[in-house]
């Protein structure tokens, strides 16, 4: 090959690199065989404990969920996972159709007209939503609840840095744990680009005064952005039914492994009138020259590879494979399945809370109705409690005092369909024993 190229050795192909910066090698160890690599990684893996070994009751928006085997099987089809972004649509009909189906399902779930085929995660989806609101109505103040995760606040502040947007936080009601509607009403005005709420919120509590909130937002001529836990939608209304303009969420729970917080899926849906301001890739249905149904990327003129500096977002690579897992997962569940799953999560949340609050040392903090997470205040030392639970192979609630200083000695418990009665009984028993010492 070198001869065909007309050079004498491989070095000649790097002759355009100045001697001053030319190197010959990388100071890394020699490569290992596949067998030795696997062995090495086994040792590394043994330094972790998976949620098979330790039962997790951590809340905070990320919890283990069951993934049916067929989801893994479909995701492992290498025609899907070794393909690129479907720029050549004729050779990518399979993935394109799956993404069209994903968009359709997300639209149904959120009660919106349209959805894109994924953003990085639910956290960056909030940043993109804030930017989109200002693109739509040119207003410059975005309103969020005080009780969202630290990650979301921090990412949001970074996403809006270039757009000259102000963020205002609305406190939560210390009795209910819900957003303080009076404060919201005072703050929202003609300059408000959008108002974001989460349902259920970070404390696991349902924001049930959505009709009031929607009215406040609409009256100000502002946009209503709702963040969802998609698992809850089986038993609750879709945000579209109570007036949302944009719906976002984390879709990891829908068929994707928890993977140390990686493998995320940013859900992003909105009303069709805002289509041209939407970030991310969108798949459309069209025809081929013979009139057959076909799919391709639509409205690419919003995207960075066409519009460059004037694109609606810089996003290119997204979370396509996670979206594939999600459309498979939701189709497998079906509407009745999601309803059932949702109900189990809700009921497990209720049951566990009841049991924990029956122990003297554990106090209920908020009286709002919660889904599958709830806040608990402990009379003793939280660190010691969680350490002792860990000795018994349990992760207790997520400590949230560092994020919300007024919630001293509080933790956020989370439970899903993967927890059975044995798991919860074991936890409750240990909580009793440890708190009694």
């Amino acid at each position: 090959m070198l001869k065909e190229i007309g050079v004498k050795d491989i070095n000649s192909l790097f002759s355009d690199i100045h001697q001053k910066i030319l190197i010959n090698g990388i100071e890394l160890p020699k490569g290992l065989s596949q067998q030795d690599t696997e062995k090495k990684l086994r040792t590394t893996a043994c330094k972790n404990k998976s949620l098979n070994e330790i039962t997790s009751f951590l809340g905070g928006g990320i919890k283990p969920h069951y993934i049916p085997s067929l989801v893994k099987a479909i995701k492992s089809r290498s025609e899907f996972y070794t393909s690129y972004t479907p720029y050549q649509s004729e050779a990518s009909q399979g993935f394109l159709q799956a993404m069209f189906e994903y968009q359709s399902i997300i639209a149904e779930l959120t009660g919106m007209d349209i959805a894109n085929c994924s953003l990085y995660d639910g956290v960056t989806a909030l940043g993109e939503a804030a930017l989109m609101c200002t693109r739509i109505n040119r207003k410059k103040t975005f309103v969020i609840p005080e009780n969202i995760s630290y990650d979301k606040k921090s990412v949001l502040r970074n996403y809006i840095k270039g757009a000259d947007i102000d963020i205002i936080e609305i406190p939560f009601d210390i009795k209910t744990g819900k957003i303080d509607i009076n404060q919201l009403e005072k703050i929202v005005d003609q300059n408000t680009s959008g108002v974001y709420i989460e349902n259920p919120n970070f404390f696991g509590i349902f924001e049930d005064e959505v009709d009031k909130i929607a009215k406040i937002v609409k009256d100000a001529g502002s946009l209503f952005v709702v963040g969802i836990d998609p698992i809850s939608i089986g038993i609750t209304k879709s945000p579209g039914e109570y007036g949302a303009d944009i719906v976002i969420g984390e879709g990891r729970a829908l068929g994707n492994p928890i993977s140390f917080g990686g493998s995320s899926l940013g859900i992003f849906a909105c009303k069709k009138e805002f289509l041209r301001q939407m970030p991310g890739r969108i798949i459309g249905l069209t025809k081929d020259i013979e009139g057959n149904r076909a799919f391709c990327m639509a409205l690419q003129t919003r995207e960075q590879h066409i519009r460059r500096g004037r694109a609606t977002s810089n996003i290119c690579t997204n979370e396509g494979l996670c979206a594939l897992a999600t459309v498979t997962y939701l189709s497998w569940l079906g509407s009745d399945g999601l309803e059932k799953l949702s109900k189990i999560n809700f009921e497990n949340g209720q049951k566990l809370a009841k049991k924990i609050f029956s122990i003297d040392a554990f106090k209920k903090v908020f009286n709002g109705v919660h889904f599958n997470e709830f806040v608990v205040r402990y009379d003793g030392n939280l660190k010691i409690l969680n350490k002792k639970l860990l000795e018994n192979n349990i992760f207790g609630g997520l400590e949230i005092e560092n994020q919300f200083p007024m919630l001293d000695n509080c933790m956020l418990f989370g439970i899903t369909e993967v927890h059975n009665d044995t798991d919860t009984e074991r936890l409750v028993k240990l909580l009793k024993v440890i708190s009694n010492v």
Binding site: M1, H18, N24, T85, K287
Partner: protein, 479 residues
């Protein structure tokens, strides 16, 4: 002759009968939120569902199907062992908030990978948090802002880019609120030093560059460019989408770059997943370290922990710590390849590219503007074919599909007319390269009508993409 599977596969909603109906309201849920109507989700049995997606997969072309020489996308074969290990429960079934003593393996992977990437690129520190290359660029711009702000030099509000830049570069620049200054390339297809000199000023925050650039040309003046940019008080940013070309031969850190992003899903063992997940780690020189996102991965007394103590940090740019499974696959890939293996990766990638380029140019069917010597990719022009036979780059691309070959990137970079941007990668054999070359030559000689009517062997014929935008149908409800 190649022929793709072709099914008239119905949509999921056509395979199912939606049972419209009501849901018995759950009185424990606040009344204003109780669901009353069933959600219109498909309802299929498992057999139907598996067949549906199995058939769809057969109408999709991946690297495991054949050559996929999309320029600037580095579509190479990725070892299956990376996928397998990343699926182990001890990695995939770990919680981001679980006690740090129970995820020492994960932290070790991240800690070690940061250092491996430093060695490969010549940078001092890395953050693995960005979810993709474009997010790495955006983080790079945030770091640039933080740096100039820290130095009380906030008037710097411009970022300069060459006209060959990837589309994400200008998009990331404006997303961060910077003014975009685009400079035209010179006759060699590289940075025009006079234009750069003119563009640089006390308002310049940063100059963004990929090296080799998107034409596949190494920017030989990089040392001079670095001097000019730094003399103007600006930072130099490296778009690492093209790092597959120079590993073990040159390092952006040595070239003078201050900030670097890499696409782990291009160079380091992760398939693209039909568009993601990816991972776009960012490396910096020491002067920018304190601005990196939190948490940093730290080590004390042989144990790892998340360090949140970084008062000058920009904070976070995505949830938790990054796309961990992609990070893990990159770590496995580098462990497999080792230093020597990575160097060989780049050498073969460049060899394959120059071999293809030579053979195609020798055929005289296509032209290649700008400089001769290329790195991992090269950009042909179909302008001559267009003039002589009215065959456009788009037609050539579609005709390649009939041969069972995935086309190159087309119409990019914008400075080449009727561009075919070809990146063969190191994982294609000489035989595969020869078949691709042969097909390109054959297409140029074919009857123009058959080229313009392509593709014919794909599940559908040429698609009306304009129609999809003019009358957007984006969900099954809209059909």
């Amino acid at each position: 002759m190649y022929r793709s599977a072709k099914y008239n596969e119905p949509l999921l909603n056509e395979l199912t009968r939606f049972i419209k109906g009501t849901v018995k309201p759950n009185p424990s849920i606040p009344a204003s939120l109780q669901r009353t109507n069933k959600i219109n989700l498909p309802d299929l049995d498992e057999t139907q569902l598996v067949r549906h997606f199995h058939r769809l997969s057969q109408m999709n072309y991946g690297v495991d199907t054949g050559i996929y020489p999309l320029g600037s996308c580095t579509m190479k074969y990725n070892p299956k062992i990376c996928e397998e290990i990343a699926s182990w429960d001890n990695f995939a079934y770990t919680h981001p908030c679980q006690d740090i003593s129970t995820v020492q393996g994960n932290l070790e992977v991240m800690f070690e990978l940061e250092r491996m990437l430093c060695t490969i690129t010549g940078m001092d520190y890395f953050s693995l948090q960005p979810a993709a290359g474009a997010q790495g660029e955006f983080l790079g711009m945030l770091l640039t802002k933080a740096y100039h702000k820290f130095n009380k030099d906030e008037k710097r509000n411009e970022v300069i880019l060459p006209d060959t830049a990837h589309g994400t570069n200008p998009a990331s620049v404006t997303m961060a609120g910077y003014k975009l200054i685009e400079i035209p390339s010179n006759k060699q297809g590289t940075v025009d030093l006079d234009m750069l000199e003119k563009a640089l000023s006390e308002n310049t925050a940063c100059f963004m560059l990929t090296n080799p650039n998107t034409l596949g040309i190494f920017e030989s003046d990089i040392i001079e460019i670095s001097k000019m940019v730094h003399k103007a008080g600006a930072l130099l940013y490296y778009d690492g989408a093209n790092i597959n070309a120079i590993m073990g031969r040159a390092r952006p850190g040595d070239m003078g770059f201050d900030i670097v992003h890499l696409n782990l899903h291009k160079t380091f063992g992760t398939p693209h997943g039909g568009g993601g997940p990816g991972s776009g780690p960012v490396g910096v020189k020491i002067k920018l370290e304190k601005f990196l996102p939190i948490p940093r991965i730290a080590k004390k007394n042989e144990s790892y922990f998340f360090d949140y103590d970084a008062p000058d940090s920009i904070g976070k740019i995505r949830g938790f710590y990054g796309n961990f499974l992609v990070i893990l696959k990159a770590y496995i890939y580098i462990t497999l390849m080792g230093g020597d293996g990575l160097k060989e990766v780049s050498e073969i990638a460049v060899l394959n590219s120059n071999y293809m380029k030579r053979k195609i140019l020798d055929s005289k069917r296509y032209e290649m503007p700008f400089k001769e010597l290329r790195k991992h990719e090269f950009v042909l022009s179909c302008e001559k074919l267009k003039q002589e036979k009215e065959i456009r780059a788009m037609d050539v691309a579609k005709r390649l599909l009939d041969y069972g070959l995935h086309p190159p990137t087309i119409y990019f970079p914008l400075i080449v007319k009727e561009a075919l941007m070809i990146e063969p990668t190191e994982t294609e054999s000489k035989e595969n390269l020869d078949s691709f070359i042969e097909a390109l030559i054959k297409i140029a000689d074919e009857d123009p009508e058959s080229v313009k009517n392509a593709p014919n062997n794909t599940p559908v014929k040429r698609i009306d993409e304009v129609g999809a935008t003019k009358n957007p149908i984006l969900t099954w409800k809209e059909i």
